[in-house]
């Protein structure tokens, strides 16, 4: 969750288009193959998307995994993980709505969890996600996939799979738009002094 999703931004010309629909599709396909390669197949995988935009990304990754490994089922691969109640910055913001947490199948014990988020920035969302996971069970391993890594980490956290490394200044905002939530696929950089 969490990249800058302000409503003040408007059409594409407001921001600098970094990734368009074909680039996003290619990045996801590559990540899907990397996930299978690294884990030697998809047998024990669970993809947990972090709402809002991590969830459609996790679904798209699952479709690609199923296309490569026919034994898998997309519904059994994907879950959603809401991290709101584990955040460390709740008191600094207006009350956030709580999203849905849904774990597929038999839970996450002993399986490999791949967290899926749109933008990796400070790393605090992922820290909250790791806490949320430990309340759900004990996976064998946790990996992280992010469509965009924009740097500026505040915690010792890194992504295992990155769609695009995007050097940014802290004053800029990175917006990820997805067909499922926003009506089109795009990654934009807005604002900032460059």
């Amino acid at each position: 969750m969490g990249t800058s999703t302000s409503t003040t931004g408007g059409p594409a010309e407001d921001g600098n288009l970094v990734l368009g629909p074909p680039e996003i599709a290619r990045a996801l396909t590559r990540i899907a193959h990397e996930i299978l390669e690294r884990n030697k197949g998809g047998a024990d995988l669970v993809l947990l998307g972090i709402p809002t935009r991590g969830l459609p990304l996790a679904r798209r990754l699952a479709e690609r995994l199923v296309a490569v490994e026919p034994g898998l089922s997309a519904a059994g691969l994907v879950g959603s993980l809401d991290v709101t109640m584990h955040r460390d910055d709740l008191a600094q913001h207006p009350t956030r709505p709580i999203g849905t947490t849904r774990v597929p199948g038999d839970g996450i014990d002993g399986r490999v969890v791949v967290l899926v988020d749109d933008v990796l920035f400070s790393g605090r969302t992922i820290r909250a996600a790791l806490d949320a996971i430990s309340d759900l069970g004990r996976p064998r391993a946790v990996q992280l996939a992010a469509l965009v890594d924009r740097g500026h980490r505040e915690l010792p956290i890194r992504a295992d799979y990155v769609g695009k490394n995007l050097p940014t200044s802290t004053t800029e905002r990175v917006r990820v738009l997805l067909d499922e939530t926003d009506g089109r696929d795009a990654v934009l950089i807005e604002g900032g002094t460059r």
């Binding site: 302000s6 109640m85 008191a91």
Partner: protein, 330 residues
């Protein structure tokens, strides 16, 4: 939302937000590890001037599941006059740094006084005041109704839905019932149609101004309106003298006219559910047949109460700064 004092203060959007949040809280309560770190470091004071088991335990459980510190303050037996004791107690709690005060008081309006007096800076949650309001009970009733009766009987996702078109009969001692008052307001806000049923002596003066129909005949309401849910109210004998205190001739006669028994249960539509805020007077307003039937959701109401109170505490306490367009970056 700064305080929760009355069910009538809630807008439809706020009420639905609370129910949606409660649904997510309820989902967390089905896990092996039920505790969440959300309100770590916050202090919730349960300030109970009146007896209560389930409401106090429910609030205490809700606060603890969210990792808040809970201080229980029972004022029973205090001989200090009401106004003074409330003020002094509130100042003490303020000095101890209470972030939220959950108050039950025998005087209608005490939570309002606490919230508006400046004695405490914490959020005030009304856990029942006199015969006035009990908003979290109404919220948990609305949550239970939505779970069972909206969206294909709870099989599909009901997030964001209200109670549009549901018919609810609230039966019994309306006069003394803060639960009835809160429910009439909240269920109306959410779009349900409420019918109050009770003997004329137990229906308050001025009920014509409420957003509900009134009937004195339970059998007629069941036959004509085919309610989706009946909510049985407890006959509050502690607020009456013995044997009904002149409100009704005898307990047996009350049961004949307004008690829910196997016959009336059978006359209800097949999908209808039975609610009761508890504690029940078995054999008076509800028979054991009805209370133990699979259509009674009375035990589930208690579980839902924890989820709803977690939602209320979350929405009142978790946020910090006032609304801006800023959002956190990942």
């Amino acid at each position: 939302m700064r305080h929760l004092l009355s069910a009538g203060d809630l807008t439809p959007a706020e009420a639905v937000t609370i129910l949606d949040t409660a649904a997510q809280m309820a989902a967390t309560q089905e896990r092996e590890i039920k505790k969440l770190p959300t309100l770590r470091g916050r202090t919730v004071v349960n300030l109970f001037f009146e007896d209560s088991t389930r409401t106090r335990i429910s609030f205490e459980t809700a606060a603890k599941r969210l990792s808040a510190d809970v201080i229980n303050f029972s004022a029973k037996g205090s001989s200090v006059s009401k106004g003074e004791s409330l003020k002094d107690t509130a100042l003490t709690l303020q000095a101890m740094g209470a972030d939220a005060v959950v108050i039950r008081h025998q005087a209608s309006g005490a939570p309002h006084t606490l919230a508006t007096s400046g004695w405490t800076h914490g959020a005030v949650v009304n856990a029942g005041d006199g015969t006035h309001q009990h908003p979290t009970q109404a919220l948990l009733d609305a949550y239970t109704l939505r779970r069972h009766l909206v969206g294909d009987g709870g099989r599909s996702d009901v997030t964001g839905r209200d109670l549009e078109g549901l018919k609810v009969a609230i039966v019994g001692d309306v006069l003394h019932s803060r639960v009835a008052r809160s429910n009439v307001q909240l269920l109306h806000t959410l779009g349900a149609e409420v019918t109050l049923v009770g003997p004329p002596t137990l229906v308050p003066v001025g009920v014509g101004a409420w957003t509900a129909r009134v009937s004195y005949h339970l059998d007629e309401v069941i036959a004509d309106e085919k309610p989706d849910a009946v909510m049985m109210l407890r006959v509050q004998r502690e607020r009456m003298s013995s044997a009904g205190g002149g409100f009704f001739p005898s307990p047996l006669e009350y049961t004949r006219g307004y008690g829910l028994d196997a016959r009336r249960l059978a006359a209800l539509p097949d999908h209808a559910i039975v609610l009761h805020p508890g504690p029940m007077n078995r054999g008076l307003e509800i028979s054991a047949d009805a209370a133990d039937s699979p259509r009674a959701v009375i035990v589930e109401q208690v579980a839902n109460g924890v989820a709803v109170r977690m939602a209320v505490l979350y929405l009142l306490l978790a946020g910090g700064a006032p609304a801006t367009n800023e959002r956190a970056d990942a």
